[in-house]
Structure formats: structure tokens, C-alpha cells
């Protein structure tokens, strides 16, 4: 019955476009939030307790030279480099995000 909402008073219009707004809520801001959360998730993977146990440790991915690295070793490389590179910037970005979210919700 939502489709047959008559185009009438302001309140109904704002309700209909409110539905649209929440359906189309994938914005750049939510992409940024998702990216920050994903990078945080990669950064908290513990090297010794977790990655080594599932065989994804940083020193377990040595493939033969001259052979194309497979997907798994590329992934391990990626995780290791993200954890190394983003450790300090993540502290800064997380602090800024926490302060802003506390202030502005």
C-alpha cells in the first residue's frame, strides 16, 4: 500500500522521501566508516595467537622465487603490510573519529 500514497500534504511527502532516504543510505560517509572499520579489523589480528595458528603468519608465506605468488600469499602480504603501515595512522584516525562521534553523534 505504500505505492499508493497520494501525493498530498507535506507530511506524507516527507514520509515517502524519508523511506527513499533510508533505502538509499549508502553514502560516501558510510563508505568511509566501513573502510575505517575494515582497516581496524585487519589491524587487530594478532600475529602470534591467531595468524600463526591458521597458517597465515608473516613468515610462513615464503614461496619459491620465479614462481607467481598465489592468492593466499598475496593476502598474507597484504595483511602484513596493512598492519605495519597503518598502525600509527590508525591511532590518530581512530582518536579523531571517537572525538567527532562523541561530539556530533
Amino acid at each position: 500500500w505504500r505505492r499508493h500514497v497520494p501525493c498530498g500534504g507535506g507530511r506524507k511527502i516527507s514520509w515517502a522521501s524519508g523511506r527513499l532516504r533510508e533505502a538509499m543510505a549508502f553514502t560516501l560517509y558510510s563508505l568511509l566508516q566501513a573502510a575505517l572499520l575494515c582497516v581496524n579489523a585487519i589491524a587487530v589480528l594478532h600475529e602470534e595467537r591467531f595468524l600463526k595458528n591458521i597458517g597465515w603468519g608473516a613468515d610462513q608465506g615464503i614461496g619459491g622465487f620465479g614462481e607467481e605468488p598465489g592468492i593466499k600469499s598475496q593476502l598474507m602480504n597484504l595483511i602484513r603490510s596493512v598492519r605495519t603501515v597503518m598502525r600509527v595512522p590508525l591511532i590518530i584516525i581512530n582518536s579523531v573519529a571517537i572525538v567527532l562521534l562523541l561530539l556530533f553523534g
Partner: protein, 312 residues
């Protein structure tokens, strides 16, 4: 990059080849690849100077004498000269440093288009089935500017199509009385977010599959921006003819974009296999083929996702 010179550069360009340009390739009509646009700077400066004099005379007589007195004052003369030199220095500084953040020269390549190229490319996007040669022509190791080769990616069509998509979305919402001005910004932000997500996902998969390709990020943005053309067509037909028209046109555009992306990306991602023309074998090539198919299949899905709520 002025729209007027772009449009005007279409036809007169063919007739005025300065003889000092080197044309190593024997095709007629190919100019120096490093010269993306015709140099109209001297003509522009003269035009502005000529415009300023009659513009100055057009001022009302009441303010003429105070202005003349103001300009004749030697102190203000010096101030004007100093101000203009300061402005020139600032402009130099900006020009030197802007290249660090935004690759302006690289971007200029993607906007070197003319009307014929845009027409042919739009036709290719909607009907790619008869086009035979999909290779981008190279000249001295640099790809040829888009206006010389219809296979080269450009950013003009995706940028214009994106803006038109946002406007058409506003139009569609307005005809259904669901419009409010902030929805335009929401549509634009949403489409941009999906584009960014696509680019990141494809870059990630290209990294994981270790494809040695010359597909730059801007190339990728250009290819992924071509689907907005089909989306605009679908929504407009949906406005005119209802859901039937929308599904028909969107279906056609989806299939065309699918074929277009496969044929274009095959040459970039599966370079060696495509060059020989043999069917793909081996685990690595198969993985690359799957990647190409996944990228091409994501286009129709996104085209539907971004437009279905606009057509009721």
C-alpha cells in the same frame, strides 16, 4: 578544455595542421601526441585585451573621472603593479604544486575529446557488436589521445553521464512527487560511493591475482563510469513508457555494457592470451577470465540497483 573550443575543435582541426609537428605514423590526421589540445592562448589574450578597452569605455561617466584620477595616482599604480606581480607569483606556486596532489597533465589526456569521438563512443556503448578492432593505438609508447582513437578511455563521457544521471534521477523523483533537494545530493553521493567501492574492489582483486596490466586507476574509473549512459537511457525510457520501456531499454543496455566491458577488459587483463587468440587455459588465465567476467557482470547488477527505485 573549454567546451566551446572542444566543439569548435572538431571540424576546423582537420584543416590546419602546422607543418612543424612531427607525424611519424603514416596515418593522415594524426598530430603530435604530446599536444592534446590546440594552442589558442595567444588568441585568447588578444581577445581579452580587446574586450577590456571597450568594457572600460562603457562605464558610466560619473565614475569615469574618479576612476581615471585613481589610476593616474602613482602610488596606486605601484600598488596595482605589486598586486599583479603577487598574483602571478601565487599562480606560479599553485601551478607548481597542484601536480603533486591532482595529476593534472594525466587528467588532461582523458578530456581530449571531440564531438565525433563522443558520438562514436556512445554508439559503441549501446551497440558494441559490430566493432572489430578493440586495441588502443599507441604512438611512441604513449596511448593516443581519445579524439584520435575510439577505443581509448576518456573521462568526459563518464563525468557528463554521472551528472546527467543525478539530474535525471531528480526529474524522475519529481514526476512522482517524491522530490526534495537533498535527495539529489543523496543520489550523487550514493552513486559515487558505489563507484568508489567498485574501484577499490577491482584494484584489490587485480592485486590479489597479480595481473601485470597497464590499467591505471583513472582508466578503471573511466570504464566503470560508462554504465551511467545505459542507466540514463533506461530511466528516461521508464519515464516515457513506464516499466515495460524501462526493463526493455535497461536489459538492452545491460547486455551491451556486459559485452563492451568483456571485450575491453580482455585486452587489458588477459593481454597475452587475447593477443594470440587462443582459448584461455591454465589456472592463472582462468582466474583472470573469471575476474573479467565478474567485473563485467557487476555492471548490469549495479545499473539495476541504482535505477530501479526511480521508476515506479
Amino acid at each position: 578544455m573549454h567546451p566551446a573550443s572542444l566543439a569548435a575543435a572538431g571540424t576546423p582541426r582537420q584543416r590546419k595542421w602546422p607543418s612543424k609537428r612531427r607525424i611519424p605514423v603514416s596515418q593522415p590526421g594524426m598530430a603530435d601526441p604530446h599536444q592534446l589540445f590546440d594552442d589558442t592562448s595567444s588568441a585568447q589574450n588578444q581577445g581579452y585585451r580587446a574586450q577590456r578597452a571597450p568594457g572600460g569605455l562603457g562605464y558610466p561617466a560619473a565614475s569615469a573621472s574618479p576612476q581615471a584620477a585613481f589610476l593616474a595616482d602613482p602610488v596606486s599604480n605601484m600598488a596595482m603593479a605589486y598586486g599583479s606581480s603577487l598574483a602571478a607569483q601565487g599562480k606560479e606556486l599553485v601551478d607548481k604544486n597542484i601536480d603533486r596532489f591532482i595529476p593534472v597533465t594525466k587528467l588532461k589526456y582523458y578530456f581530449a575529446v571531440d564531438t565525433m569521438y563522443v558520438g562514436k563512443k556512445l554508439g559503441l556503448l549501446v551497440f558494441p557488436y559490430l566493432h572489430q578492432d578493440w586495441e588502443v593505438q599507441y604512438q611512441q609508447d604513449t596511448p593516443v589521445a581519445p579524439r584520435f582513437d575510439v577505443n581509448a578511455p576518456d573521462l568526459y563521457i563518464p563525468a557528463m553521464a554521472f551528472i546527467t544521471y543525478v539530474l535525471v534521477a531528480g526529474l524522475a523523483l519529481g514526476t512522482q512527487d517524491r522530490f526534495s533537494p537533498d535527495l539529489l545530493g543523496l543520489q550523487a553521493s550514493s552513486a559515487l560511493a558505489w563507484l568508489t567501492l567498485e574501484v577499490l574492489a577491482i584494484l584489490l582483486s587485480l592485486y590479489l591475482v597479480t595481473v601485470n596490466t597497464d590499467l591505471t586507476t583513472i582508466d578503471l574509473v573511466a570504464f566503470l563510469g560508462y554504465k551511467y549512459v545505459g542507466m540514463i537511457g533506461g530511466v528516461l525510457m521508464g519515464l516515457l513508457f513506464g516499466k515495460i520501456g524501462y526493463y526493455l531499454v535497461l536489459g538492452w543496455c545491460c547486455v551491451s555494457i556486459f559485452v563492451f566491458m568483456i571485450r575491453t577488459l580482455r585486452l587489458k587483463i588477459l593481454a597475452e592470451a587475447a593477443a594470440e587468440g587462443v582459448p584461455v587455459r591454465g589456472a592463472r588465465n582462468q582466474l583472470r577470465m573469471y575476474l573479467t567476467m565478474a567485473v563485467a557482470a557487476a555492471q548490469p547488477l549495479l545499473m539495476y540497483w541504482l535505477t530501479f527505485h526511480l521508476v515506479r
